[in-house]
């Protein structure tokens, strides 16, 4: 078994002899990103229930994993290859929240796409297929002698896919500058972690690919940041990939179509709430005299205002048009598709 890295305990105290991996200022910034993730989850879920937002997968309970890992990256040169539960990591990396919100609200036009110069790939729903992409991207950046690192995300469920093995194996062989961040949130929809694998630790699998694997308390933003930073630095220095298993808990449904009461023991959820990643940062800052209820209230209000502004702006994004079906399929539309588009447009004019 690998030792699980832990810095900030659930009671807000530092683990024995541990030093904070982030400055006080950076820890407050991490808190703000985590709050933004949670508040956005609440708002998006509420909007989905009103029919104003598509199917949504919250990051609730996993904020320290998402934020701590992304804060180890330099948006100017590093890349994120996401799965789909890392929304705030993408925002921190430069993908404007209003664009992500617009996509969630069905305004799926080019106006909402990843901006040029923002080093983020699209969300991936075919699980683990993004891992070979990340390996190839990192390998290509290395071939071009860029000092970039790629951070890619997968879950305990995705780790059972064949592409997990193929992606990590190739990255190891090429010593590609990539960090595989496995958020073990204990669930793949209703399938519990023990059904995914008999391995006592997903991090152990890294040994089979010839690179380091580390386990980290995924609800501890300081530990996640420390593990991610070390992996990013190693990759940047030419030391190749790292697998990080971030042990966390999905404190919500898989997505808005799911009903965990059919399969989840409420005691597990209650236990997870005692390990809440946001509460422990607030406790820690308060214990050190760096935080109080007024500051806390102020930050939550300002984050809520920022989220609401992004949602308002998203609601003004252009809506979809039928001809858009044929956009971005090929660099130039072949004749057959031009004809199909004409047919569609003729029919939509008639109705």
């Amino acid at each position: 078994m690998t030792a699980r890295l832990s810095i900030l305990a659930p009671d807000g105290k530092l683990a024995n002899g541990a030093k904070p991996s982030l400055s006080d200022e950076a820890l407050v910034e991490a808190l703000r990103w985590m709050l933004m993730s949670r508040i956005y989850d609440e708002r998006a879920t509420a909007l989905q229930r009103q029919g104003l937002y598509g199917v949504y997968s919250p990051a609730l309970g996993q904020e320290a994993s998402v934020v701590g890992s992304s804060m180890a990256l330099d948006p100017a040169r590093d890349w994120i290859v996401p799965q789909y539960r890392e929304l705030i990591a993408l925002v921190r990396h430069g993908y404007p929240l209003e664009r992500l919100a617009a996509i969630g609200m069905g305004r799926v036009t080019e106006t909402a796409r990843i901006p040029d110069g923002v080093n983020v790939l699209p969300n991936q729903v075919a699980l683990a297929t993004q891992l070979p992409h990340a390996a190839g991207l990192a390998w290509g950046l290395k071939l071009q002698k860029k000092d970039s690192v790629v951070m890619t995300y997968v879950g305990d469920g995705g780790s059972s896919e064949g592409d997990f093995h193929e992606g990590l194996n190739l990255a190891g062989v090429q010593k590609a500058p990539v960090v595989f961040f496995l958020s073990n949130n204990q669930w793949a929809i209703s399938t519990p972690r023990r059904v995914q694998s008999a391995t006592p630790s997903f991090a152990l699998r890294a040994a089979g690919y010839g690179f380091p694997g580390v386990e980290v308390d995924g609800n501890d933003v300081l530990a996640v940041y420390a593990a991610a930073s070390e992996a990013v630095e190693r990759a940047r220095a030419g030391g190749g990939p790292t697998l990080i298993e971030s042990i966390t808990y999905r404190m919500s449904f898989h997505n808005t179509t799911d009903n965990p009461s059919l399969y989840e023991d409420p005691k597990d959820r209650a236990e997870a709430s005692r390990r809440d990643p946001i509460d422990r940062v607030v406790k820690h800052l308060k214990q050190r005299g760096l935080w109080d209820d007024e500051l806390d209230k102020g930050m939550r209000a300002s984050v809520r205002a920022e989220v609401d502004a992004a949602l308002d702006k998203a609601a003004t994004f252009p809506t979809v048009t039928p001809s858009q079906l044929f956009d971005n399929v090929y660099s130039e539309l072949p004749k057959r598709l031009l004809r199909q588009r004409e047919e569609l447009l003729g029919e939509t004019r008639e109705t």
């Binding site: 070979p132 390996a135 991207l137 390998w139 592409d163 093995h165 992606g167 660099s331």
Partner: protein, 325 residues
């Protein structure tokens, strides 16, 4: 002018594009020192170095998936899948990933990736090595499907594929690799996608094919000429994009048509050809369209191939029947 066979034409296209563009790289199984199991990449490692001619782990999904990432990083990968049938283990990385990345990213990213894959029967290779599964990729929007039938086209279509900003599946007719040479110029030239070729003129019937089946049709046309039946042969060259105009024009001219392919009959690309002709050339047809294909059975062991594949004899017989109807 230089005489080259199909394999030499492919090698020449790869070598010249790698020399002209430092972003172009080759990756796949055994493409390095061995030069590929058919030697298509022979000499490239020595000339262009190990960073650009890369033997990968034996894992097709990551060959294609990594090519997607390499393309986004700014490289121009030409991936080799040792045999088209082995794409079964990378299928999800071709259509759903390479094919859709431009659309999924709403135009922010595209995948300038060429996937080369030898295929086809008649060389006594076992099962998956021979499978003709090209039609599966026609149902994968975003992928172009290219099927050269001769050495000149092989070079020009491959250079076109490497330079195309979209992902291209380039299927190589392994039976024809070393079957004679033709004039294939040194230096870069391209054969455009979406332009079928009428490779033989004829008045009585039109044989439609792609890849190695074109060669079968050309031999069949010679035999038919001996019987007094004048057969035209159309080489579609690319299934996506499809040249409907040339296809319809050539069939309308003779009023009779036989479609020939190595893939099994049902829902093979021949079905798309026939459906297209049914709607675009219906009133020019003088007889039902025939198909000569492999059967809807698994690819057989080598001693059974001669009954499985669309042979010259079967094409001649079908053309004779169609011509007399």
């Amino acid at each position: 002018m230089t005489q080259r066979n199909v394999l030499e034409a492919i090698n020449s296209a790869l070598d010249e594009e790698m020399s002209a563009d430092p972003r172009v790289m080759v990756l796949g199984l055994d493409v390095g020192k061995l030069g590929g199991v058919f030697r298509a990449t022979s000499g490239l490692l020595e000339k262009h170095g190990a960073n650009r001619v890369v033997d990968t782990p034996l894992a097709e999904a990551s060959i294609i998936g990594a090519s997607l990432g390499l393309a986004i990083s700014g490289m121009v990968p030409v991936a080799e899948i040792q045999f088209l049938g082995f794409t079964a283990q990378a299928f999800h990385q071709i259509g759903p990933q390479l094919g859709r990345y431009r659309a999924r990213s709403r135009g922010r990213f595209h995948c300038q990736v060429t996937v080369r894959a030898p295929f086809g029967g008649g060389i006594s290779s076992p099962e998956f090595h021979s499978d003709a599964v090209e039609a599966q990729f026609v149902q994968s929007p975003g992928i172009k499907v290219v099927m050269p039938s001769n050495a000149y086209d092989a070079k020009g279509l491959l250079i076109e594929a490497i330079r195309d900003p979209d992902p291209v599946l380039y299927c190589e007719p392994d039976r024809l690799y070393r079957l004679g040479r033709m004039e294939v110029p040194d230096g870069a030239y391209t054969v455009p996608f979406g332009k079928a070729a009428v490779v033989r003129d004829g008045d009585d019937i039109t044989l439609v094919a792609w890849s190695a089946a074109v060669e079968t049709c050309l031999i069949a046309a010679e035999r038919l000429a001996d019987e007094g039946i004048s057969a035209a042969v159309v080489d579609l060259r690319t299934l996506v994009p499809l040249d409907v105009e040339t296809l319809v024009g050539a069939v309308a001219k003779t009023g009779r048509c036989v479609v020939v392919h190595e893939a099994p009959l049902s829902a093979g690309f021949g079905a798309e050809v026939v459906a297209t002709l049914a709607s675009e050339a219906f009133y020019d047809l003088d007889a039902p369209i025939a198909r000569v294909t492999s059967y809807d059975v698994p690819y057989p062991a080598a001693p059974l191939e001669r009954w499985y594949l669309p042979t010259v004899e079967r094409v001649v017989a079908a053309a004779r029947r169609t011509a007399r109807q």
